[in-house]
């Protein structure tokens, strides 16, 4: 059976903030866009965050409306829970992507996300969305603000007891679903495949991932998020409210011994942001940030850093060399206090946060045939004047797929990628130009998005 074919102007790969923004910027120009996301919901890494620097807006207040706008935009077709198998160029110069949509075992049309199935399911599993501190069941709605807001079954951790099916009021559970093949035909491709954080166990000196109270910064985002696993900032070893928290900067960046030489750009700011938020949640807690250089380079960022200093967050210059723990699982950091006479000290904290960096998560060469740079991210050969152009004509890159960057820079770059893709579609689309459905002056066009 031939796969269902979807014809669009642009295929956007990745439903994180960069992908969503690129898709919206293309769709709002009148182009047809297919947005393909690997996870069951769009939102990317950003939707996991609590609040965002330097404005301290609640993160979901920025992300969820964009997710909603993507879902409701009449020019965007959303494909979640999909894997792209291959991308080839056809004779007419258009790309065709072979996509497999994984079965959710839930009928997406009828599911109302009432979560009765979830309550009925007996299997509790660590929830990756909560950095495994929280739980989900074998059938679950990915998270409270997921788009689409629909349940799915984790078939690999299901005993097929059928309880969910019995309680479902609309009968949407369907164990017989099969993967669906799709072919997406597009003139341009925007890669917005994002990044991965440095694994917490990457550095043996930091406990190799075995110390329970040494957590990564994404975990703290979840602890701080109102929808987080505990609803409070508690440490994972025993649920204690921490009095003393240390941040270790460059725990996954600027370290040749880890094979990551570059700066991940976001860690200084998120550590400062989290410090401020923790100070708000736990006013008595002492917070220390061990750093090499504080890199608060963006608009309003240095002022943010000064505010944190004024709030009493301690900034200590020195790279933590080693973390051990005492018998109560309190982490102990060993560090040279560079600014304080160079003495070596061992300091005990209740919880230590590794300011992990950003690394490339996959090899884009295999599917998309674009070059990667030495840092593993998509190469942008014309990086100065055309920062979104890749080595392959018609394929553009958006957001942190082209190297570490923060949300502001990702959103700006997403706009730039949309501009590049639009220009490419304009120049090479069918009939010479104007692959997009550009609208004549005065012609009414439903503006479906918010």
């Amino acid at each position: 059976m031939a796969p269902r074919t979807i014809k669009v102007d642009a295929l956007v790969v990745g439903g994180g903030i960069a992908g969503m923004q690129s898709a919206l910027d293309l769709a709002d120009q009148g182009y047809q866009v297919a947005l393909v996301e690997k996870q069951p919901s769009i939102g990317g890494k950003m939707i996991e965050l609590s609040k965002v620097f330097p404005t301290l807006d609640c993160c979901s207040c920025i992300t969820t409306p964009k997710m909603s706008a993507v879902a409701h935009n009449s020019n965007i077709q959303l494909f979640t829970y999909c894997d792209i198998q291959s991308v080839d160029k056809q004779g007419d110069g258009r790309f065709v992507a072979q996509v497999i949509q994984k079965p959710r075992y839930v009928d997406i049309e009828t599911c109302t996300a009432c979560r009765q199935c979830e309550y009925a399911c007996p299997i509790d599993l660590p929830h990756p969305f909560d950095q495994n501190l929280g739980v989900h069941r074998a059938i679950y709605v990915p998270f409270s603000t997921a788009v689409p807001q629909k349940a799915l079954i984790d078939i690999d951790n299901c005993i097929l007891c059928g309880k969910c099916e019995r309680v479902c009021p609309v009968g949407c559970v369907d164990f017989t679903q099969q993967p669906e093949e799709l072919a997406i035909e597009a003139t341009a491709i925007v890669l917005a495949t994002g990044f991965e954080i440095t694994p917490t166990d990457a550095k043996a000196e930091y406990g190799g991932g075995k110390l329970l109270n040494v957590v990564n910064a994404l975990t703290v985002e979840r602890l701080l998020a109102p929808t987080g696993p505990y609803g409070h900032v508690l440490r994972p070893s025993d649920g204690k409210e921490p009095d003393s928290i240390a941040y270790i900067q460059c725990a996954g960046s600027r370290d040749k011994s880890l094979g990551v030489e570059y700066c991940s750009r976001i860690c200084c700011m998120y550590a400062i942001k989290q410090s401020m938020l923790i100070s708000g949640a736990l006013p008595l807690a002492d917070i220390a940030i061990y750093y090499m250089d504080i890199r608060t380079f963006g608009k309003g960022y240095d002022q943010f850093y000064q505010t944190a200093k004024a709030m009493g967050v301690q900034f200590i210059k020195g790279k933590v060399a080693k973390i051990t723990e005492d018998e109560n699982q309190n982490p102990i950091v060993r560090v040279e206090l560079i600014d304080e006479g160079s003495q070596v000290v061992e300091r005990q904290h209740d919880m230590v946060v590794l300011s992990v960096g950003m690394v490339s998560k996959y090899d884009p060469r295999t599917i998309y045939d674009v070059n990667v740079a030495g840092d593993g991210f998509v190469d942008t050969p014309l990086t100065n004047v055309s920062p979104c152009v890749t080595s392959r004509p018609g394929v553009f890159v958006s957001g942190s797929a082209a190297g570490p960057m923060d949300i502001v820079d990702s959103i700006v770059m997403a706009g730039a990628a949309a501009a590049e893709a639009a220009a490419y579609i304009q120049a090479t689309g069918p009939n010479g130009h104007g692959g997009g459905r550009s609208i004549a002056a005065g012609e009414e066009k439903e503006l479906a998005h918010a």
Partner: protein, 101 residues
């Protein structure tokens, strides 16, 4: 009536064949479920006596406190325990009504 019976039968057969197909993961998950159920039982028993903190439950059950925390978190999410204030630096939890009975 017969239709409904037929349906139930078909459904049971379908689930059974599926279980056969996913034998490996189903068995693995069943083992996990059993393990978790025994832990939950211990935790519930320990918590019969009233609100407790995670280290208290850990002490009473002999389970590692991080595991207790995870299970309490799970139970809280699905309304099986609820948070009832703090004791020192720890939150206290008690069994939700239906669990108490």
């Amino acid at each position: 009536m017969t239709d409904k019976k037929e349906d139930t039968k078909n459904r049971a057969a379908m689930l059974k064949s599926l279980r056969e197909k996913h034998k490996e993961t189903v068995e693995k998950t069943q083992a996990l479920l059993k393990h978790n159920q025994s832990i939950r039982k211990q935790i519930r028993q320990a918590m019969q006596s009233g609100p407790m903190t995670v280290p208290e439950v850990a002490e009473a059950t002999g389970l590692p406190s991080d595991r207790v925390l995870w299970h309490v978190t799970a139970m809280k999410k699905y309304d099986l325990v609820r948070e009832v204030g703090m004791s020192g630096e720890y939150y206290q939890y008690e069994l939700a009504q239906k669990e108490n009975q």
